[in-house]
């Protein structure tokens, strides 16, 4: 088993843990935590392929990770702002209780 395989397995495990969290938790912030984990697993994959993969462009992986980090930061900020706005409106962050549009 190579280092690449290990890192890929780690990234996959992290992604799946994040997925499980995003699927099972009902609190919006905890779902956001799961999504963050999934994003970071993707970052790890980028770096793994940069480090251990064939390299058409020497810095593709890091550049990708850099953009992904920036976007994740924006996503977290907007997501948390949304959650706070929802909380102010509905007094809850439980996703299933925010159901006013349901017929």
């Amino acid at each position: 088993m190579s280092a690449a395989t290990l890192h890929l397995l780690l990234a996959a495990a992290m992604f799946c843990i994040g997925l499980a969290g995003a699927l099972c938790r009902r609190n919006a912030i905890l779902v956001l935590i799961g999504i963050e984990l999934m994003l970071n697993a993707a970052n790890l994959n980028f770096l793994t392929f940069w480090k251990y993969g064939p390299q058409p462009q020497p810095l593709d992986g890091p550049v990708f990770v850099l953009f992904s980090v920036a976007i994740a930061a924006a996503e977290a900020a907007v997501g948390l702002a949304l959650i706070i706005a929802i909380h102010r409106r509905y007094r809850t962050t439980q996703l299933e209780e925010i159901s006013r549009l349901r017929g």
Binding site: L23, A70, A72, R89, T93
Partner: protein, 191 residues
């Protein structure tokens, strides 16, 4: 640099940090603990990056994720506190989500372990990631994406502030037995 063993103790430790932190982050019933464990997992991931020689990205990872995102998350947890019950109720069917995730991991692991060897088998030694090269790359070839990201961050900053501002027309719904916590708006900051 000496050839490192594939499964070194250091890797085991940081991988344990990442996986343990992740599992605890998604399974902890105490929400603040979940946020702190997220920080642990992200620090572990930064250590993985450092081990891979991506010094710059490892530091950026901690700067952004631990310094900003994790802190924002726990801050949001505190701001939205007091309205929900202290611990969230269990999901209706946690088994489905967990099962799906395990299944996915199985498929991915199978794919990773049985990939065609040619895809990765010839790891040419990666060039050391010089920050100067990264900067040159970002500001020459990736200038347009960089500007777009800058625009996105600015938009996110303004948008987050606007979303979190109290709406003038709508008074918050009368809370039940709980006090009105978290009507103050913190300035959200996407780093």
């Amino acid at each position: 640099m000496p050839p490192e063993p594939v499964l070194s103790l250091a890797f085991a430790i940081v991988a344990g940090l990442v996986l343990g932190g992740s599992v605890a982050a998604v399974s902890c019933r105490n929400r603040v603990h979940a946020g702190l464990f997220l920080a642990v997992a992200l620090v572990g991931l930064a250590l993985v990056f450092l081990r891979m020689g991506a010094e710059f990205l490892g530091f950026i990872q901690i700067l952004v994720y631990v310094g900003a995102v994790a802190v924002l998350i726990v801050f949001a947890i505190l701001l939205t506190r007091g309205s929900d019950s202290a611990h969230e109720r269990r999901s209706n069917a946690p088994g489905i989500g967990i099962g799906l995730a395990v299944l996915l991991w199985g498929v991915l692991a199978w794919g990773i372990l049985h990939r065609s060897p040619g895809a990765i088998a010839t790891p040419s030694p990666p060039p050391s990631m010089a920050v100067r090269d990264l900067g040159e790359r970002l500001l020459r070839e990736e200038l347009l994406p960089l500007q777009t990201v800058g625009l996105l961050l600015t938009a996110a900053l303004i948008g987050a502030a606007l979303i979190a501002l109290p709406e003038p027309g709508i008074s918050p719904r009368p809370s039940g037995s709980h006090g009105s916590a978290g009507t103050e708006t913190p300035p959200s900051s996407p780093t």
